[in-house]
Symmetry: C5
């Protein structure tokens, strides 16, 4: 997540350099040739770039709205993961009974809770294309890690393990039948959230729209100087460059926002959120030492 | 689903060829006649095409938004099918008990899980107008296939079969009463998702809007050259053609996106999603061999 | 539901004839008088109709969006009715037990399922202001019809009857307590859907907006020719008429779409949907003969 | 709710009289002074009012959309109250058992159902700032009225009373444990709907936006005549007055719509809806005499 | 929450003073230099600021919509907290049984209800960066306060305590198994609402959009005077300043609205809402003395 601390203009600008220089060179070329008054004869009315400007604004507005929706949905889904993680542990604590001759209740709750923490880290890293096992080995038993290694989808496997343990808890009468179903419902919600993240990750924003925005902006840049030839010479260069840069900037921002799980500074802050979940859960389990909050980098937090 | 790999401009352009040539011929005709300066006398102010341009932009914006909503809803529904398929199998695994003198638990779970995989393939193919039984015969028993053949709606019949088996599981005490209801709830959600797909498939986008967008663009193209007659001769041809092509391009993109189950490259990738579900479920059932991920074609994935 | 088969331009045009001729006569009048060059002195700048055009576009955009939302919500609600009808019957089939010395299980299930089919037809016809009992008499017992005749709201009474039968099923131990509650939940959803239809039917779209759109378009038509007087004589007539007709056309389309239960070709296709439900349910009950799909009319389906 | 019967232009116009006359006087003043050609020297280009017109249209569009959302949400919430009221009574009828030596079942159901009717009237009147007890005394026992008088929030107290009776019904074995929870769930939904109404009632629409729309329209009116001085003298007065009136009209409509519980003709029709609920519920309880539908007033229904 | 009582123009204006003076000084500078007719030679057509005006309007429209959504969602979440708080207490009252030899039922209910009141105050204050324990010490036992002090997230700890007490209530047979699960569901909803508030609080609105709006407005201000040089001298200063101020005003309003938990007058009125909850709950518990409603300040309520 980009923070407000340092103005992130250059973060985006870095990504539209090519377009910036293309427009600048084009405008400079037009300016030079225009000195020879060749273009005078093909001046076009400014209403044409105006119409293009309106069309670009609207299609950029659509683009921006949809990109924002994806970004915000990603954040909402991770908010739901926070909520359901806390609820899962709270339910474990307020449902589970201690049983004679069995594993101690606290050990049971800790095992499931740690798997839940691991689920968050694993999901976040898998979405970002990192090794999902990397951050979670210390949270799991060797047996669990062995089980995970047989699955492509590690986070799904963690839910499976927790479901399996709830089943034996029912058999051992640690939980009653309603409590098992209620805990299962919470796992269902986590399963939904996980699927939603994968949907956002795997669905390409309709490429045809990305293209048409780009083409419209280039059309606009190509035609605009012919509408200005009667007015000014070199002053039109920064003018057109500035407007075109703004349009490209908005477009690029949308492109970056629409994919929030790419291991980039503009990502949804899944590592930081997972850490918060870890802290909350460990405090709920009365751990004395909890990890620090995730540190923000220079102008972003992962 | 169209991928980002190869720019899909020609994919859409192919579909607006007629409009492209109509506009080009019209503009060329206007250009030729204009040589005779006949049109000079009926020049119209550019504010008229401007107003039309604003109106087109807005109605196209509406069109684009609604088409995108249908497309995105289709994808969300299939995301929900992924989630509920995984949850269904996870619930089977964490609810079902083994029973003496009955079918082995693993056989029971496998039968229902395979039907769930079959449900996804059958729904996807039925929506695309293909034979829904084609991909699923190996997943079902002969008895099940016989049952399906008596139903118009194969995917609904598969849910019915799974519901029936849950009933006998309750009778045999494989499941308790809450667990049956909870599993039934998951089948309900699948039934909802299936109905949502059918709704998107069967509801024609209001044809009156499609028409008005088309008419507005043609009006725009007809009037625009009369606003330009004072300015330029042959140069106006590519100008008007380019702008009109862009408008038609956006409209066509919306038309293609609004129907995501037509067995076309722009479809929701239901085959690929069903394959992912198959892989996930088979790994959850501890199968050693799982199928490969669905292969992407040149510039799209089905 | 209007189909794509025959272009429905005349369907809408039929409804804006008055506006069309009003504008045409007005423009012809202006044209005639203008011959006398009386209007020259009161020409107004085209920026004024431009501003009006922008304002009309935006308010028409709002109008169109809200009308579409109502139309789409109506379709979604009927989609939910399809889903819940299927779920209701599937649940009956997978929950109900046969009981000794009682009504046969199949008779019990059929009675409730047929009432569910009747619910769909009755709701659809009631929304359209038709006699809700007309299509459903063959599906119900005489006793049920007698009961319905005492209620203003026939579809609500049908849910009541099904609820009553579920109660006796619980008493007779045909269903267990969870199953009754789960089936009741499905009836609840049907009750919600029914209420949503009635809400759409009974809520007048804010009349003040309908009015302001109309007034804005008329203002636009009145002022536009004064902006064009410097340009063209008779050619302005088709120009203004065409643009005004488009605006009225869009407005009329919104007006027609916002009320989808009026027994008009543009209605939500409730009869056809109810028929689909009947076919699905009868196949689920293993009926040999199921009715045909509802036939589409010339350019629409009811 | 305003009806379509009588055009409600004057209903709104009544509320923008001040603005109308302010603009008219201003324009007349400008017109008079302009006779002296003093303003000629400070004519401004029409592009400025155009930009303002675009900005006003967009901010008015935002305003209108949000006001409509509040209005529509209010209607949706009351639709949900209709649905949940019917479901509540249907559930009472299909859950409750008769008990020996206790209150008759019908008396029990009637007491709770009448409280539900009372809840609707009380909520509607409380939202409108009327005495919530006024319409409901005949529906409640003296004891209940005494209880209500001790509560600021009468409708919440009615839910509390029904909850209390469900508890004794469980103790008396009139309901089983699942049925109590299911009925409690319905009361929960009613509690949610009631809170949503209070939210809409108590949340002031951001006053800063109301202000900025107003200021923008005034800026527009102030600058527009200076853009027109080259064109026409007295004819500009009705022109500017008409456009400004339309903008104020749209704004006022939004202001009226955003607060739907003010005991005004534009309110959500809560009295009429409550009456419909009363009729439905009394018919469900097999009452012979049910009240008439609520009468519409001249151009609205409360 | 800002009230309608005193026009809050200066509340916002205070925050855009810097921009206001920057624009004024720039315009005055332009005006002075223009006296020397230096700028004449670089006049630019007004279509350029027009295009910028359209683009600004659209991007500001996006900004405003999203800021409003965050603000409205915050209010909705607190509405849900009101509803769930009332439901929680109503459920306690209609579920809990008195038990022999145990804590009195009323004491039990009061303890949990007071924690619920404390939850609201603590959440509100924590979101605003205040000490969450400050307002709630009188509502909690010493033991509870000790427990809270060990948690970073006090409101989560309160839910944990209530969950723990529900568990012992189940063990003591004060509640049956379904009732515990149903009450737990209500706590789940509160946990969700709390997480949603934290999401809104912790998610920075994409800083890149804030920046681009600002840059677009400055571009507009920089270019606009060059489009006006042919028209007027000093009169253009208030014109440009007024339009620019309006744009900055709209932007600032969005910036303020998007963060509704900053302990500012424009905040969601969480203290006032919590007080309402306290009053409602205490009346439900039949307290004789309830606190007063929260007092509104001069032009806002906290």
């Amino acid at each position: 997540m980009l923070l407000n601390k340092h103005i992130p203009f250059f973060y985006i600008f870095e990504r539209i350099k090519v377009e910036f220089w293309l427009v600048t060179v084009y405008m400079a070329g037009i300016g030079l040739i225009d000195e020879g008054h060749i273009f005078k004869s093909i001046s076009i009315p400014l209403a044409i770039p105006s119409i293009l400007g309106t069309a670009i604004s609207l299609i950029l507005g659509f683009r921006t709205n949809q990109a924002y929706s994806r970004w915000w949905e990603a954040r909402q889904v991770w908010g739901a993961i926070v909520n359901d993680s806390r609820s899962f542990v709270r339910q474990l604590l307020s449902f589970t009974a201690d049983i004679p001759d069995g594993e101690a209740k606290t050990a049971f709750i800790q095992r499931l809770s740690f798997r839940q923490i691991a689920f968050c880290y694993a999901l976040g890293d898998a979405l970002r294309g990192l090794d999902p096992l990397q951050k979670i080995k210390s949270l799991l038993s060797d047996e669990d890690i062995l089980f995970l290694e047989q699955h492509q989808n590690k986070h799904n496997a963690l839910l499976l393990l927790n479901g399996r343990d709830l089943k034996s808890a029912l058999a051992e009468k640690r939980l009653n039948a309603y409590q098992q179903v209620q805990l299962d419902e919470t796992i269902n919600k986590l399963c939904d959230s996980m699927g939603k993240c994968e949907r956002i990750k795997n669905t390409v924003f309709p490429a045809t729209y990305s293209l048409v925005v780009h083409l419209f902006i280039y059309l606009f840049v190509i035609f605009l100087p012919f509408g200005l030839v009667d007015f000014l010479g070199y002053v039109e260069i920064p003018l057109v460059v500035a407007i075109a840069t703004m349009f490209f900037y908005i477009e690029k921002t949308a492109i970056i926002m629409q994919d929030p799980f790419e291991n980039r500074p503009s990502d949804t802050a899944v590592s930081s959120i997972s850490r918060t979940i870890e802290i909350n859960i460990k405090q709920m389990l009365k751990y004395d030492t909890v990890p620090e909050k995730w540190e923000a980098d220079d102008y972003y937090i992962m």
